[in-house]
């Protein structure tokens, strides 16, 4: 989801850090909380987290960059995750995904020029008995074909 400016303040970020720092292994919950609130993890959060957890900024960056989920910049208003894994491939998932990318003129992780839709690959949504599958902003869809996919993308404003 794209979130409007102004960027989050240090105070807002510090409040989220404070909510989770008592946990055992608090870093992932903190990063998830910040991304949930702001749609991405702003660079200004890195030193704040580092100080709060007594780790280096490099360590925070290292963790952020390791995981596919965390973004340094906001995604489009809607995120469409298309499954690329084997079960979906067995039901034509590859052609479906390639069709979407061609139709929108974007590459994987790309966002449509109007900022409405980001297309991401995902490796398995656990919908392997109703493949091919995708997830749009957390809502799952199965047994997709090109027509249905186009309709969903139009609804998302692609």
């Amino acid at each position: 989801m794209q979130h409007p400016t102004p960027p989050p303040t240090d105070l807002e970020i510090e409040a989220l850090i404070a909510d989770h720092r008592h946990l055992e292994g608090p870093l992932l919950p903190i990063l998830h909380a910040i991304q949930r609130a702001f749609g991405h993890i702003p660079q200004t959060a890195v030193p704040l987290i580092a100080v709060a957890l007594n780790i280096t900024k490099a360590e925070v960056h290292g963790v952020m960059s390791f995981y596919h989920d965390f973004r340094e910049v906001p995604a489009g208003r809607h995120v469409v995750k298309i499954c690329r894994a084997e079960a979906c491939q067995s039901m034509g998932g590859t052609a479906l995904a390639e069709g979407v990318l061609a139709e929108l003129g974007v590459a994987w992780h790309g966002t449509t020029p109007n900022g409405n839709v980001t297309i991401e690959p995902v490796y398995c949504l656990g919908l392997c008995a109703c493949a091919p599958a995708a997830m749009i902003d957390g809502k799952v869809v199965g047994r997709l074909d090109a027509t249905r996919m186009s309709k969903l993308l139009k609804e998302a404003g692609a």
């Binding site: 946990l23 055992e24 292994g25 608090p26 870093l27 992932l28 919950p29 990063l31 998830h32 957890l53 360590e59 290292g62 963790v63 390791f66 995981y67 596919h68 989920d69 965390f70 995750k81 894994a85 084997e86 079960a87 979906c88 491939q89 067995s90 039901m91 995902v122 490796y123 398995c124 949504l125 656990g126 919908l127 392997c128 008995a129 109703c130 493949a131 599958a133 997830m135 957390g138 809502k139 799952v140 869809v141 199965g142 047994r143």
Partner: protein, 505 residues
């Protein structure tokens, strides 16, 4: 009247939420006094959304139900499938782990208890830790995540370790394509996982548990969080479990999209807030796991099976199965298949029976070409080996691996060179980067397969050699098992690798 509409992700992906909304609207408009229950799925995904109606004479199933079917459904004019228990796909199963899934309201503690829930925990509370571990060992339960390590032995190691704090960690990072059993039980019967974790805690002396649940499963995360809160409220978790004076509590932690975190040491690093890099073993997580403390790391299905073992006894469970694979396998039949879903049965069933008989062959109607068993790191098994019985050792003997018991079926349009390339590409994307054979080998693997695709037959021995290096030299199963799909594709489907060569000439 009671109306059951699944809340399972697969049912939702096929329109269950819209059907539920239509049923609510229609029953309200007609003034029908109906209780709508969002249950888990019965596991017959080709029939989803599968709606069950109970007018006091037992549950009758309908499916797949569309929004347009709803008026006819309530008029009693829609053809019924009869009782779910009489549908052959269901009738032929042995439901132990999944006995309640799809039957009960997943978030109703009383319903859970009325269907045998908490009986196992009550029995375990009265036992000594040593006796609990012996019971699990005697049941023959082995790790259902893939490795098949005996659960009782793992628990015994943690029980005997001396420490101020021990942990139970549930691996719910179900990233393998073709698998959805973990998701299905967490969405359909979450208390059984919680109960299993509490019993594990009592056995080894752990007071804290974590479920590491992948972020790709938002529905399962919601159900599990709600279930944990309910369990805390009802004294199943907390400082005084069911009035026993014993403590155990747990949290749901969400992953962040890294496949490798399904590997237990990488999962532990991730849980600690680090990069999900694999740790060298030893030390075993059983001795130095989460935050360096003795930790049981078990798969969802392993832990969710523990309550039924205590409810019915170890022997009852061990009586099912074949050889050293005791109890039931929770098979996930997926991919290009006419009747896909979850099929729980005693170990020993053959692939042929699963795919051609139960599954009804491919969804496309074309001939079956291969089945990938055990996820993206599992071998492609050709039709000629479909007589192999499913068991840990039995599949191993055929050059395959059971893994998490996911079976992905492909029809004859599948290009096995392309599948082999994907296996290497996936390994490159998901490698944690710690060991060279996996990190570099997978990239070289993609390049080498591209050479073969361009008609360079000299690259085939190179690929074989690379796979050997990855198998022997990788730190964990990601790099170590990626050669399974690659080499099985090359060995069993050489034409797919040669045909490309002719095309290039």
């Amino acid at each position: 009247m009671k109306i059951y509409i699944p809340l399972d992700s697969a049912a939702k992906a096929l329109g269950a939420d819209d059907v539920a909304a239509a049923i609510r609207t229609e029953t309200a408009a007609r003034g029908i006094d109906a209780t709508i229950i969002r249950n888990g799925t019965r596991g017959m995904i080709w029939l989803e959304p599968l709606v069950e109606i109970d007018t006091g004479e037992g549950r009758r199933a309908f499916g797949p139900v569309t929004v347009d079917d709803v008026p006819a459904l309530l008029d009693g004019k829609l053809d019924s499938l009869g009782k779910v228990e009489d549908i052959p796909f269901f009738a032929r199963q042995t439901r132990l782990t999944f006995a309640r899934c799809g039957v009960i309201d997943p978030l109703d503690v009383a319903d859970y208890e009325a269907h045998g829930g908490l009986a196992g925990l009550r029995r375990a509370i009265a036992m000594t830790p040593g006796d609990i571990v012996t019971e699990v060992t005697d049941s023959g339960l082995r790790g259902r995540g893939g490795a098949g390590f005996p659960t009782g032995i793992k628990w015994k190691t943690v029980m005997e370790a001396e420490a101020t704090q021990k942990y139970i960690v549930c691996n719910a990072d179900e990233g393998d394509s073709g698998t959805f059993a973990d998701r299905m039980i967490m969405e359909g019967d979450p208390f059984t996982l919680i109960e299993g974790m509490v019993i594990a805690g009592l056995a080894v002396g752990a007071t804290k548990g974590y479920v590491y649940l992948r972020s790709e499963y938002p529905d399962a995360i919601n159900v599990m969080n709600a279930a944990v809160a309910l369990a805390q409220k009802n004294g199943i978790l907390g400082a005084d479990i069911l009035g026993s004076g014993r403590a155990f509590d747990m949290e749901i932690r969400v992953g962040a999209g890294a496949y490798v975190c399904g590997e237990e040491t990488s999962l532990l690093n991730s849980l600690e807030g680090k990069r999900g890099v694999v740790r060298a073993k030893p030390p075993l997580p059983a001795l130095e796991g989460f935050l360096g403390k003795p930790t049981v790391v078990n798969n969802v299905i392993s832990l969710a099976t523990v309550p039924v073992i205590f409810e019915r006894g170890a022997q009852h469970y061990a009586d099912f199965g074949t050889g050293r694979s005791r109890g039931t396998a929770t098979l996930q039949i997926a991919g290009n298949i006419a009747r896909g879903g979850l099929f729980e049965t005693a170990f020993g069933i053959t692939l042929d029976e699963i795919i051609n008989d139960l599954g009804g062959g491919t969804a496309s109607g074309r001939p079956v070409k291969a089945a990938q068993v055990g996820g993206p790191l599992g071998a492609y098994i050709p039709v000629s080996n479909f007589d192999a019985p499913l068991g840990y050792e039995e599949l191993d003997a055929r050059g395959g691996l059971l893994g998490h018991a996911g079976i992905v079926v492909f029809d004859d349009t599948a290009d096995m060179l392309r599948m082999a390339r994907f296996a290497m590409e996936f390994c490159a994307v998901e490698s944690c980067g710690k060991c060279t054979p996996c990190r570099i080998g997978s990239v070289r693997g993609v390049e080498t397969i591209d050479r073969i695709a361009r008609g360079d037959a000299a690259a085939i021995p190179l690929l074989t050699d690379l796979c050997e290096t990855m198998t022997e030299g990788s730190l964990c199963a990601l790099g170590g098992f990626t050669p399974y799909p690659v080499m099985s594709a090359l060995t069993h489907f050489p034409d797919d690798f040669a045909r490309q060569q002719e095309a290039a000439e």
